[in-house]
């Protein structure tokens, strides 16, 4: 398993645009291809800084070691980044114009630096409301011990 090379991440979401599944092509129940990711301290801390969250549980090893977590952890919402880290460029979640309408997440165990994170995800449903094309998708993140880190459901409005 390769570490995620952040320098190689494709930032242009128009690339592979034509390869992505449209609303008509998304099959509820079908697993989306995913890529396991080695979660580093640098990835966690970059994410935490971007949301202005300098909690010592994410930054101070000595402090975190004495806490109930027994070591550094990631903020619960790290799944926001892991969703993109664990999916390929042609995944439909990257489609330009995808509008996030709502999310619900349950947190089981904290993600930690050094974890190898695996995502299992699929669309669960698609529907039309007020002429908008919606997809409901389910996502579960696991660590290297196959323990659930968090699980969640999202509602997105598809651009086409």
């Amino acid at each position: 398993m390769e570490d995620l090379n952040l320098k190689k991440i494709e930032k242009d979401f128009w690339k592979n645009w034509e390869k992505r599944k449209t609303w008509d092509e998304i099959q509820p129940g079908e697993l989306r291809p995913t890529i396991p990711v080695f979660l580093t301290k640098a990835m966690i801390q970059k994410y935490a800084r971007a949301i202005g969250d300098l909690n010592p549980l994410y930054f101070d090893e000595g402090y975190a070691k004495k806490s109930i977590f027994g070591g550094l952890i990631a903020p619960p919402s790290i799944h926001v980044m892991l969703m993109f880290a664990c999916t390929p460029d042609d995944d439909w979640m990257r489609e330009p114009g995808t509008i996030n309408a709502g999310q619900s997440w349950f947190y089981n165990l904290p993600a930690r630096p050094g974890d190898r994170i695996r995502l299992v995800c699929k669309a669960l449903d698609r529907f039309i409301k007020k002429e908008r094309l919606f997809v409901i998708h389910e996502n579960v993140f696991y660590n290297q011990n196959d323990e659930v880190i968090c699980s969640g459901r999202g509602w997105t409005i598809r651009p086409r």
């Binding site: 330009p96 114009g97 409005i157």
Partner: protein
């Protein structure tokens, strides 16, 4: 972790989160950190032309997940010193957030529940902008564990 303070928590208790000033730079920084480079958040030219059904934003919008992350930041800031664990968050996005906006999350304790194996607190969540317009609403759940949760 601090001792479990479940018994002290009162229905209607308000938790004020720290505000965040949204700028093009914070949106760019969130894109880099979350790996979500959707042109919705970065491409003014695209947003000035693109229509989303009957909606047109005219300008780039902040990631909805920034609000989500601000709420989780508020929850963990408050919960950990109270001996609680952030267990669940559900949000809906009601209005777009633009560069120049200032967003502030808030939680209000709505219920306290004891189950066979746990103690739970439910919160109503909202995020408002500087004009006091509700941009996001939702519900959160925290557990106040009665036994050790993360064995080492």
């Amino acid at each position: 972790m601090s001792p479990n303070r479940f018994e002290e928590i009162e229905i209607g208790q308000v938790i004020e989160g720290r505000p965040m000033e949204i700028t093009r730079e914070t949106i760019r920084e969130f894109a880099e950190a979350s790996l979500d480079f959707n042109p919705l958040h970065l491409d003014s030219d695209y947003m000035s032309k693109q229509e989303f059904g009957k909606t047109k934003f005219n300008e780039v919008i902040a990631h909805g997940m920034t609000n989500f992350a601000l709420i989780t930041r508020m929850m963990t800031d408050w919960l950990w010193p109270h001996g609680g664990i952030h267990r669940r968050l559900e949000t809906r996005w009601l209005k777009p957030v633009y560069s120049g906006d200032r967003v502030t999350p808030k939680a209000v304790v709505s219920k306290k529940i004891k189950t066979e194996k746990g103690q739970w607190v439910l919160f109503n969540i909202e995020v408002r902008n500087q004009k006091d317009i509700l941009v996001s609403s939702g519900e959160a759940t925290a557990e106040f564990p009665v036994s050790k949760l993360f064995p080492q």
